[in-house]
């Protein structure tokens, strides 16, 4: 490339600035001389003409004065001829000098043979404009200027004096003047060209040094500055070139540094991405699928989905506050800690507590981690989770057309004393039924700013996407969220890391669950004991009265009549359970399969006074629903979720089991009668 340029430079025809400048100076001098000379000549000719005319007229008048006496003499020609001859000898430019008498006969002439002859002026004379009085006449043609002055004596006109001047005399005078001007001009031109050449030579001497310096810069030598002591603009140009070379050198160094950093950041980004699974993980009928897109800057999001013992699926999502390599390093450390400890802890809370303890010694001030860890039991669908100030869990339940939001309390990892975190972290649980979709995410989703006005994407839009897309599967929901957030931000480069993790079941409701799920102590009084089969159930319920339910809704009165003399709270608990199964336990339009047995109190039976309910819908254990926080006005406004809370408070014991090929069994044991029940004061 540089050789090509050099060849181009060599081939370029150079026009010497010295030559250009000298020729220009000469041309300017010549133009000035010609312009000034032409103007000067015109004024010179005009002034000279006026001068000559005036002088000619004065000479004619002078001669007329002499002639007035001479014409009165008897031989005027003898007196006048010497005067006229003298004039013409002195002034060779005079064409003629003639004195005529009043009859027009020549009385004075340099040629004596003309005396007494009639004198006539040339025919084509025309009056000139200046120098003449009323009686004096100044005329001329292309060759002559003639002054005619009458010879007056008293009041008599004795004759006329005619003095003629060759007009070529004027041209001769002007030509002499022009020759002088041309001579001076030639001298000035030579002088100008010489001075211009010398000046250009002096001025352009630094150009050679400049050219050499620029060629050095072109070859990449940015370290050798040009040293020019020139005090003209060329010296300033040399300084500018030196500055430019210095700036190019700095830019090159910055670019090299940036490329190095970009390479490292790209490496970090790839390491960060490699920490996260790029495919979904399936355990039983549940699968977990994550999506991660990093921001322009490497960030601190992390997620993992992994299989745990006992048919469990673990999901972990974290967001490290602090971007860049620092955040990425913490993410790597977090990933290692999660992988090391995840099989040791069966409680999400305990794992987060452990992580907080392990991270405490490593995190710099100002860096903290929000984290969500959940364990899904694929057999029952129970999802137990704890959140260290992470974004709420969203659970879309298409069977009832809602998206529930599980906001948990907890402080981030690594920011507060360890005991504060221990006190704030709690395990929560929710039941994932067939068709439900749980979404865990980082704030890169809900806090994604809109390009136009900075408005955040918000959790409501996430819920809408979940609600609308859940029928098409978790992959579709995640992809829709990713696409919508990109469109919302107006760019594929996110403002923050975007992490989404979906949990869902791909199993139909008819599929049987794998094993038993017992939520209460099976050794407690009034439990189902060893009921693991249809036959066990038939034997256990042989002494009970049954209430088969074939259609919904079930009336309270039917339950009351069935549990005659029974505890009112037990009646209501049974009713709440039935409503719960109706609302959540079956996927419309499936018909309910609900059976109830009651062992009257007066029976001599271990289960006397208790109710057993069997359904074959999706499992719905009592501890799968979080107790409503009545202090929260939003909970009060929602006005839902009190059914399970009622059962927990009203009953002494609930024994809930999911038994393969049998169904979901729930044994309700009422509290002992309270005598003061009727005296509850308001």
């Amino acid at each position: 490339m540089s050789e090509t340029k050099t060849r181009q430079l060599q081939r370029r025809r150079i026009v010497s600035m010295r030559l250009v400048f000298s020729l220009t100076a000469a041309a300017l001098v010549m133009a000035s001389v010609i312009g000034v000379g032409s103007v000067a000549e015109r004024y010179l000719r005009r002034a000279l003409t006026t001068e000559v005319q005036t002088r000619l007229m004065l000479e004619a008048q002078h001669l007329a004065n002499l002639g007035s006496d001479a014409l009165l003499d008897d031989f005027p020609e003898l007196l006048l001829m010497p005067v006229v001859q003298q004039m013409q000898d002195d002034r060779p430019e005079l064409a003629f000098v003639v004195l005529t008498d009043h009859e027009g006969l020549v009385q004075g002439h340099a040629d004596s043979r003309r005396h007494g002859t009639q004198f006539e002026l040339p025919k084509d004379l025309v009056p000139e404009t200046s120098g003449a009085g009323q009686s004096n006449i100044l005329q001329g043609d292309s060759e002559l200027i003639v002054a005619s002055v009458p010879i007056i004596r008293g009041e008599d006109e004795l004759g006329v004096v005619h003095v003629g001047l060759w007009r070529s005399y004027l041209d001769d005078v002007v030509a002499r003047s022009r020759r002088a001007l041309v001579g001076v001009s030639a001298v000035m031109m030579v002088l100008a060209v010489t001075i211009a050449s010398i000046l250009m030579h002096v001025l352009l001497r630094p150009v050679t040094a400049l050219r050499a310096g620029l060629e050095r810069v072109g070859r990449g030598d940015l370290d050798t500055p040009m040293h020019l002591s020139d005090r003209t603009e060329l010296g300033l140009l040399a300084d500018t070139v030196n500055d430019m070379a210095s700036q190019i050198r700095d830019s090159q160094q910055a670019m090299i540094e940036k490329e190095r950093l970009d390479h490292e950041m790209d490496l970090a980004r790839r390491i960060q991405a490699s920490l996260m699974p790029d495919t979904g993980v399936k355990v039983g009928r549940f699968s977990g699928l994550g999506l991660f897109e990093s921001a322009a800057e490497v960030g601190g999001d992390y997620f993992d989905v992994f299989e745990l013992p006992e048919h469990q699926l673990g999901v972990f999502v974290a967001d490290v506050a602090g971007k860049g390599l620092g955040g990425c390093l913490v993410t790597s450390m977090l990933a290692a800690l999660v992988r090391t400890n995840r099989r040791e802890f069966t409680s999400p809370r305990e794992l987060l507590v452990r992580l907080d303890r392990d991270l405490a010694g490593f995190l710099e001030p100002g860096i903290f981690v929000t984290a969500f860890y959940g364990i899904l039991d694929s057999r029952s669908g129970r999802f137990t989770f704890a959140s260290a100030a992470h974004c709420p869990l969203l659970l879309a339940r298409p069977s009832i057309g809602v998206v529930e939001e599980f906001t948990t309390e907890g402080v981030p990892l690594g920011i507060l004393p360890h005991d504060v975190l221990e006190a704030s972290l709690v395990d929560h649980s929710a039941l994932l039924a067939d068709g439900d979709l749980a979404l865990i995410y980082t704030d890169g989703l809900t806090e994604a700013p809109r390009a136009s006005d900075g408005e955040q994407y918000g959790v409501d839009r996430v819920k809408t996407v979940m609600r609308n897309g859940i029928s098409r599967g978790s992959t579709e929901v995640l992809e829709t969220l990713r696409r919508e957030v990109s469109e919302w931000e107006g760019s594929d480069a996110h403002a923050d890391d975007l992490t989404l993790l979906a949990l869902c079941s791909d199993m139909s409701p008819e599929t049987e669950v794998a094993s038993i799920e017992c939520t209460t102590d099976s050794t407690a009084t009034g439990s189902l004991g060893r009921v693991f089969s249809e036959q066990d159930l038939a034997e256990a319920t042989a002494a009970a009265t049954a209430l088969p339910v074939r259609e919904f809704p079930v009336a309270v009165k039917d339950v009351e009549d069935w549990i005659a003399q029974g505890d009112a709270l037990l009646v209501q608990a049974v009713y709440e359970y039935i409503c719960n199964v109706q609302e959540h336990g079956f996927m419309a339009p499936r018909r309910p399969s609900l059976e109830l047995w009651y062992w009257p109190s007066q029976l001599n039976h271990p289960l006397a006074g208790q109710v057993l309910i069997r359904d074959k819908g999706r499992p719905c254990p009592p501890d799968s629903v979080v107790s409503p926080d009545l202090e929260d006005s939003a909970v009060r406004m929602r006005g839902r979720g009190f059914g399970w809370e009622f059962m927990r408070r009203a009953l002494e014991n609930i024994d809930y089991r999911v038994i393969p090929k049998v169904g979901n069994l729930c044994l309700m044991k009422p509290r002992p009668p309270i005598k003061t029940r009727e005296s509850v004061d308001v």
Partner: protein, 121 residues
Amino acid sequence: MSNVLSMTVDASNGIVTVTAVGILDAVTSADFRDECLKSLATADTGLIIDVEGVPFVASSGLGTFLLVTETGKRKQCPVVISGAAAPVREVLAMMNLVPFLNLQPDTAAANSFLKSVIPTV
């Protein structure tokens, strides 16, 4: 068996009284909630929900009590639940809902309560 809940609405001096008689179960509580919210919207100074004739309130009914009361608070229109029977009060107490509701023994007491909290009535 059909689930029956009859409701009557009476308005006087800016106070609207919704009187419910029957079972407030999962089926009827939806209509009950709609009627209460509609009455609350027309009430200027207070709403009385008279449940003296309601022997049974399911959890959905309890949720309705909370929802209407909370909505009334936001509208600055107090909501009073009057005449709750003993089993209903027992359930309310057991669920720890009493602190979040305005309970009065009957409609007269409810009216007096509203007059005491709203001087202009």
